[in-house]
């Protein structure tokens, strides 16, 4: 490609932008609305998955030990738990601590649980956290088979249901975003088609004079990319300020922790910008090809 042609492409794209101000504005608005909805969708999914990750991370295994173990047997069990692959951390909770906690929660000051019960009925406990919450059942099973462990509790059934729910929520989130993207492409393609339709005579002439398809495409692509980047920037601006004020207002108000990591948000905004540019390219491509078949 000659440098003269590149100058020509930019000049033509610029001229067309100036000539079709109303359609340019329509394209920018369409892209902005699409990216805004998409951005809200992604932010919602991001926060929902963050919330789910917290929920999942709270899943822990309680391993109750036999009553008559020596302290060295107890620490042996601890070492064996540690050696199980997938275990992230484990914490020992003695029967006295357990009773103390129970006294605090239920007995308050009026009842002395220890004297009421006669003796401490609670077992020693290991509280185990796993690296990958999805592996909790497998790890619990391994721990249950260790000698000296008489019972394991990890909310069997409830945990599986939680995982099923979170899995479905993730799938729904992804499907939602994909549908939004497809809808956005068609909306933008339709808007750009209007701009191209106004110039179909020019395109037909170019084809008959002997222009190559790419020579015809480039100015339209540049125009499409420019308009969709502007649209994306507008929506990112709106999204960032709206989300920013949401974070500052909701701070410590909700039990749901909003995603505030600036690196993640930065990636999101960059991704939306790229998505905007891509929508412009795909939209222009879809609309243009029909007019190039001469």
């Amino acid at each position: 490609m000659r440098p003269g042609s590149i100058i020509y492409f930019f000049r033509e794209a610029g001229k067309s932008l100036k000539r079709n101000r109303l359609l340019s504005f329509a394209t920018i608005t369409t892209v902005a609305v699409c990216i805004l909805i998409l951005g809200f969708g992604v932010l919602f999914t991001l926060n929902a998955s963050n919330f789910m990750k917290h929920l999942e991370a709270d899943v822990q295994i309680r391993a109750f030990l036999d009553q008559d173990l020596t302290s060295s047997q107890i620490s042996d069990i601890g070492r064996e738990i540690e050696a199980i692959p997938g275990v992230k951390s484990h914490e020992f909770f003695s029967r006295d601590e357990a009773l103390g906690k129970m006294q605090k929660e239920f007995g308050r000051k009026e009842y002395d649980l220890k004297s009421t019960l006669g003796k401490n009925p609670l077992p020693h406990t290991y509280i185990v956290k796993v690296a990958n919450p999805q592996e909790v059942a497998r790890v619990a099973d391994r721990i249950n088979k260790l000698p000296g462990v008489y019972k394991v509790n990890y909310g069997k059934g409830t945990v599986e249901r939680l995982f099923q729910v979170t899995r479905w929520l993730r799938i729904i989130g992804i499907v939602f975003i994909v549908l939004l993207l497809v809808g956005a492409i068609f909306l933008i393609a339709t808007t750009i088609r209007l701009a191209i339709f106004a110039r179909r005579k020019e395109i037909y002439l170019m084809k008959l004079i002997g222009s190559t398809d790419w020579f015809i495409r480039w100015p339209f692509f540049l125009e499409g990319i420019f308009l969709s980047i502007v649209g994306a920037l507008v929506s990112i601006g709106i999204l960032a300020s709206a989300y920013g004020s949401l974070i500052s207002k909701m701070h410590n108000l909700f039990f749901i922790q909003l995603v505030t990591d600036s690196a993640i948000l930065g990636h999101l905004y960059l991704g939306l910008l790229a998505a905007g540019a891509l929508l412009g390219v795909v939209g222009t491509g879809i609309s243009l090809n029909r007019f190039l078949k001469v």
Partner: protein
């Protein structure tokens, strides 16, 4: 031979038979009229030259290259060898005379210094000096067609194809346009012109190919059949 048609037939998808077993040869430097009533197949034949339409059967060669078997990516190169003049001029309303002509060179990637030299040259050839900065709607029909011809000449085509170029013009203006086309032909460019203006064609004393319902019914070197 510049243009060769061998047993070309065209049936449109709706079943309409536009051309029926046409065989024609046109030499370099010739001036050829395609005559016939509306629907005789003139436009289809012209469109096949620049491959806007493909034949259902038969072969077409331009400068010994098959137009039919040509790859899609080679079509732009084929079209750069031709200049096309339209009945309705097809000028871009928002461009001046000079810009309309420069457009034809820009879109095939010509260097801007060549464009600067060639545009005034062809404007001179078609007699529009002084009108460079006019917009099409400021020109008469004849002047607009001159711009169309100048645009067709800008890329120095081997072949000029004119599809009813005088169809929208009065008789005097038509004659001026014909003179311009003859002049271009004298300078070496092959011209194929579709027309149904019998008087104009007869006066020209050039080769006439007569089409009727998609068939060649007469091919006379000096238009004798019209006398």
């Amino acid at each position: 031979m510049l243009v060769q048609f061998y047993n070309v037939s065209k049936v449109y998808p709706n079943g309409a038979k536009a051309l029926d077993d046409i065989s024609i040869q046109i030499d370099r430097g010739e001036f050829v009229f395609l005559m016939g009533a509306s629907g005789a197949g003139k436009s289809t034949l012209v469109k096949m030259l620049f491959r806007e339409e493909l034949p259902t059967r038969g072969q077409i060669f331009l400068a010994s290259r098959s137009v039919v078997r040509m790859k899609r990516s080679d079509v732009p190169q084929l079209r750069r060898n031709m200049g096309i003049v339209f009945q309705d001029f097809k000028l871009l309303e928002k461009k001046t005379v000079a810009e309309n002509i420069a457009f034809a060179m820009e879109v095939v990637g010509a260097a801007s210094k060549d464009i600067r030299v060639r545009v005034p040259e062809v404007i001179g050839m078609v007699g529009l000096k002084g009108k460079e900065n006019c917009f099409p709607n400021e020109l008469s029909g004849g002047e607009q067609q001159r711009v169309g011809i100048a645009r067709a000449l800008a890329n120095r085509p081997l072949l000029l194809i004119a599809d009813e170029p005088t169809g929208n013009l009065d008789i005097n203006t038509s004659q001026e346009i014909m003179e311009l086309l003859f002049d271009i032909n004298r300078k070496g460019t092959t011209v194929i012109m579709a027309s149904h203006a019998r008087e104009l064609v007869r006066a020209a004393r050039k080769r006439v190919i007569m089409l009727q319902t998609g068939r060649v019914v007469d091919d006379s070197p000096n238009g004798e059949s019209l006398l």
